[in-house]
């Protein structure tokens, strides 16, 4: 079943890559360049999943995660952090912020799809 997913990353190339992968799997994809932009988009659009970079200007992924978790309608939306940072304490921080999961860049397309499938169901 087609789901709506937002990808948040300051690197347009990365967004494109993720977007292509997810669209290929039949999902609808929204894009945002940073946390602030994502929050604005999410005011008007409902999504089934958030995939966000951690290190971004204006508002980073962790702050975005916390902000979304503070809103009732996003309390249970899966939020996956997608980042090159893989230090355990960073992950703990992500988890504490309310992230559902953590994907380390670089990733393969099927790895991304596997996570999405795991989170969203078939």
């Amino acid at each position: 079943m087609s789901k709506t997913i937002i990808t948040v990353d300051d690197a347009a190339t990365m967004r494109k890559m993720i977007s292509f992968t997810l669209k290929g799997a039949g999902h609808e994809v929204l894009e945002a360049a940073d946390g602030v932009e994502a929050l604005k988009t999410l005011q008007t659009r409902a999504v089934d999943m958030v995939i966000t970079d951690v290190n971004m200007p204006n508002m980073d992924g962790l702050t975005l995660t916390r902000s979304l978790r503070a809103l009732p309608q996003f309390a249970r939306t899966p939020i996956v952090l997608l980042t090159t940072e893989s230090a355990p304490e960073k992950k703990a921080e992500g988890k504490a912020a309310g992230a559902t999961g953590w994907i380390v860049k670089p990733f393969q397309q099927d790895q991304l799809l596997a996570v999405v499938a795991k989170v969203l169901g078939p």
Partner: protein, 786 residues
């Protein structure tokens, strides 16, 4: 939807653009850091650039870029945490590191791979710098290879198993994500705890409680007001607008013929809207010049460092906008000028100190709009251009003659450095003496319809002024007809229009070394017959035996002037430049094509190409050189003479150097002062001397003709006198052989000039006899040098 392979290509394109932009930002922030002008965000920005490159490159399978990026990222991460002290070696190493990434990116662009360059030395340096700071911290970011893969194996019922310590659920797919009943408990529990954190979000809180419009209006971010548009899309838009402009021209022209009021009204509206649309679309293609300048601080730093000089770069008018095609075209010329300014202009600190200047040289870049053009000025406060050395060099290389050198104004002398084959550098440094000189700079700027000028003052500095058009797509042009074809000549290369009536043409157009020339105010103007050049056939194709008026379009190409003879001069018009098809692209004479109001195509002439095709530029140069060789011995005898008639059939000449001005006065202005005729001239009294009264000829001829008096103003020691002559004929540069037979008063001798016997007027003698007091304090007898 694109295939995977196409996507990969496209993504790599995006990566290149994004990464290069990022690296420019990296450089900029690095330099700010070095100068102590960093903002608190600077280390973050620097880190993020590399971080992004690493992440994206990794996902695209570019492992070399990824691993190089990774090493720097470690160091930058420490920098961000304030665990590394900023030192000059650190900055230099990191800048070199950015260059290494750039090199790999260019290789990726040009060769399709990351290149075979070995960066281990650089990486070692980075690691050493990192190790040096490890005294304070041992924390590094693990290599991506070491990074844990996506998910971990084990599972807890509430999690998705996406954290290492969080086992995956037994049946992950079964978790209905959006169902409240089975929602992951931890998330809900955590929500109230993290709530206060949102208040710290930098750009405002999530405004979900506000109506979307209200919240959106307040926090308008760049992403809302600006979008990225493909350049091709813009080019296409511009093209379409061009077509629209052409169609508009046709309709406007047509509606003028049909006397229909409603059509005229509609076409006027169309006219206005099209013009506005054209302007708006042109604006979308505009980019601030700051985009080009962004890389200059780095260049200035590197060049100055290499030469042991100190240079402060000041940039003004970063936001000045111009068309993106022009931005591209000026990038290299500007870089070259800047290198030159630092290399040749600004002195070493020791020299500057000696000259009472601050150690640090000043280099100012300024850009601003003026009169529909963009002005760019590059100013330094260096040693200035040494005129005598420039002239010497130009003489040595036979670019000018000794005579030209002697008569040349300072301004002309400065502009010698733009001549091909000129280089003043005592020794060719690897920075600015790369075999391409300022001539290339000038050519490149002229190619886009710009101009370069140079001013310099010894020990005070040099200023280079560049003027370029805002856009290349729609340009003003002069429309001419030749051989029943119309051609457009870009207005920028146009100097003036000269029309010679049949009689004048017969007399005025001469042959010099077999080539037609016209003397325009004493300057030899080589002529090119457009009909002949393009083999069109038609009236003036013979180039001689003209029995009708001749239209000369005086053009400038490559810093030299020439006249182009055309059948008819039509009008000036805004034309839309269309590129030529690939079959015609190789023709140097044409710059493009345009569609005229009547729907017919007109070719746009490439003035430089045409001049080269007609060999008119090279000829002039060759000619001046042959004249130099021939004329060396006689050089001292060559002089510029003013030719005039005094009475019937007698041509006279005086050296142009004795002429202050040529004036025309109506006879009614003549007043008397004592025994003398005078006129009021620039608030002074100018005594008049009728030359015909003092030489043997009969009365001046023009007395019968016009009411205007031709006066040659002669000045000596602050005093002026007006010599009234019959008519001014010409100015020539000749090596005159004077036959001395001065049996007559007021005549120094005679010579044959332009096939006419010409008397050389003894100005001093004439004036002395007219006004003995004029030379009262005179020590220098005035006369012909001959």
């Amino acid at each position: 939807m694109p295939t995977n392979e196409e996507l990969q290509k496209q993504l790599i394109q995006d990566l290149l653009v994004e990464s290069n932009e990022g690296l420019d930002r990296f450089d900029r922030e690095m330099l700010a850091l070095e100068k102590g002008q960093a903002t608190p965000d600077t280390p973050n920005i620097i880190f993020r650039v590399i971080h992004t490159i690493k992440g994206t490159a990794g996902c695209l399978g570019l492992s070399k870029i990824e691993s190089v990026a990774h090493v720097g990222e470690n160091l930058l991460s420490l920098l961000r945490e304030g665990k590394v002290t900023v030192t000059p070696p650190l900055i230099s190493t990191l800048l070199a590191y950015a260059d290494a990434l750039r090199a790999m990116l260019s290789s990726l662009r040009d060769e399709g791979n990351e290149g075979s360059e070995d960066y281990s030395a650089l990486l070692k340096q980075l690691q050493d710098l990192q190790a040096a700071s490890s005294a304070t911290s041992t924390e590094t970011i693990p290599a991506p290879q070491a990074a844990a893969p996506v998910a971990a194996p084990a599972a807890l019922p509430q999690g998705w198993g996406l954290f290492d310590d969080e086992p995956a659920p037994a049946t992950p797919a079964a978790t209905p994500v959006l169902s409240e009943a089975v929602a992951p408990a931890p998330v809900i529990e955590r929500a109230p705890v993290v709530a206060p954190v949102t208040a710290h979000a930098p750009t405002g809180t999530p405004a979900t409680s506000h109506p979307p419009g209200e919240g959106g209006a307040r926090a308008t971010s760049a992403a809302d007001t600006a979008i990225r548009v493909n350049v091709e899309q813009l080019d296409k838009l511009m093209n379409l607008v061009g077509e629209l402009v052409l169609a508009r021209n046709q309709i406007v022209q047509h509606s003028a013929l049909i006397q229909d009021n409603s059509l005229i009204a509609a076409s006027q509206r169309l006219n206005i809207i099209t013009t506005e649309l054209q302007e708006s679309v042109m604006k979308t293609r505009m980019q601030p010049i700051g985009n080009v300048w962004a890389k200059f601080p780095r260049i200035v730093r590197d060049v100055a460092g290499e030469l042991g000089k100190k240079v402060q770069l000041v940039m003004e008018g970063n936001e000045t906008e111009l068309d993106r095609t022009i931005i591209e075209a000026i990038k290299d010329p500007l870089t070259h000028i800047i290198r030159n300014a630092i290399d040749h202009g600004i002195e070493t600190p020791e020299v500057r100190r000696g000259g009472g200047k601050p150690d640090e040289g000043l280099l100012i870049l300024r850009a601003f709009h003026e009169g529909g053009q963009v002005n760019i000025e590059i100013m330094d406060d260096g040693r200035g251009i040494n005129i005598s050395r420039v002239k010497e060099k130009a003489l040595q290389r036979a670019l000018i003659t000794a005579d030209q050198s002697a008569r040349m104004s300072d301004r002309e002398a400065f502009n010698l450095i733009f001549l091909p084959g000129f280089s003043t550098a005592e020794k060719v440094t690897n920075l600015s003496g790369r075999g391409v000189g300022m001539d290339v700079v000038k050519t490149n700027i002229e190619k886009i319809g710009g101009s370069v000028d140079l001013l310099s003052e010894a020990n005070a500095g040099t200023t280079i002024k560049i003027k370029i058009p805002l856009t290349l797509a729609i340009i003003p042009a002069l429309i001419v007809t030749s051989g029943r074809e119309r051609f457009a000549i870009p207005q920028v290369s146009l100097l003036e229009l000269v029309r010679l009536e049949a009689e004048q043409a017969r007399k005025g157009i001469e042959k010099l070394y077999g080539a037609p020339v016209y003397r325009l105010r004493g300057q030899l103007l080589p002529l090119v017959y457009l009909n002949k050049e393009l083999e069109l056939g038609g009236a003036s194709s013979t180039g001689g035996a003209v029995d009708e008026a001749v239209n000369i379009v005086v053009l400038q190409a490559d810093g030299r002037q020439f006249g182009m003879v055309v059948d008819e001069i039509n009008d000036t018009e805004e034309i839309v430049v269309k590129p030529l098809g690939k079959q015609l692209k190789g023709l140097a004479c044409f710059a493009g094509a345009t569609i005229m109001g009547d729907g017919r195509v007109a070719l746009i002439l490439d003035v430089v190409g045409l001049a080269q095709h007609a060999q008119v530029i090279r000829e002039v140069r060759d000619r001046s050189m042959t004249e130099k060789h021939k004329g060396d011995a006689r050089a001292s005898e060559r002089q510029t003479l003013l030719l005039f008639d005094v009475g019937e059939g007698a041509q006279m000449a005086i050296p142009l150097s004795m002429v202050a001005r040529l004036e025309e006065f109506p006879r009614s202005q003549i007043e008397r002062s004592g025994a003398h005729e005078v006129v009021q001239y620039r608030g002074q009294i100018l005594p008049l001397v009728r030359v015909s009264d003092y030489v043997r000829t009969v009365a001046e001829t023009s007395a019968s003709g016009t009411d205007l008096m031709q006066v040659v103003v002669y000045s000596e020691q602050g005093r002026s006198i007006g010599l009234v002559v019959g008519s001014i004929n010409d100015i020539v540069e000749e090596a005159v052989t004077v036959k001395r037979d001065s049996a007559h008063d007021g005549i120094l001798g005679s010579a044959v000039i332009q096939n006419r016997v010409t008397d050389l007027l003894d100005v001093a003698a004439v004036i002395r006899s007219a006004d003995p007091s004029f030379y009262s304090s005179s020590r220098t007898p005035v006369g012909l040098a001959a």
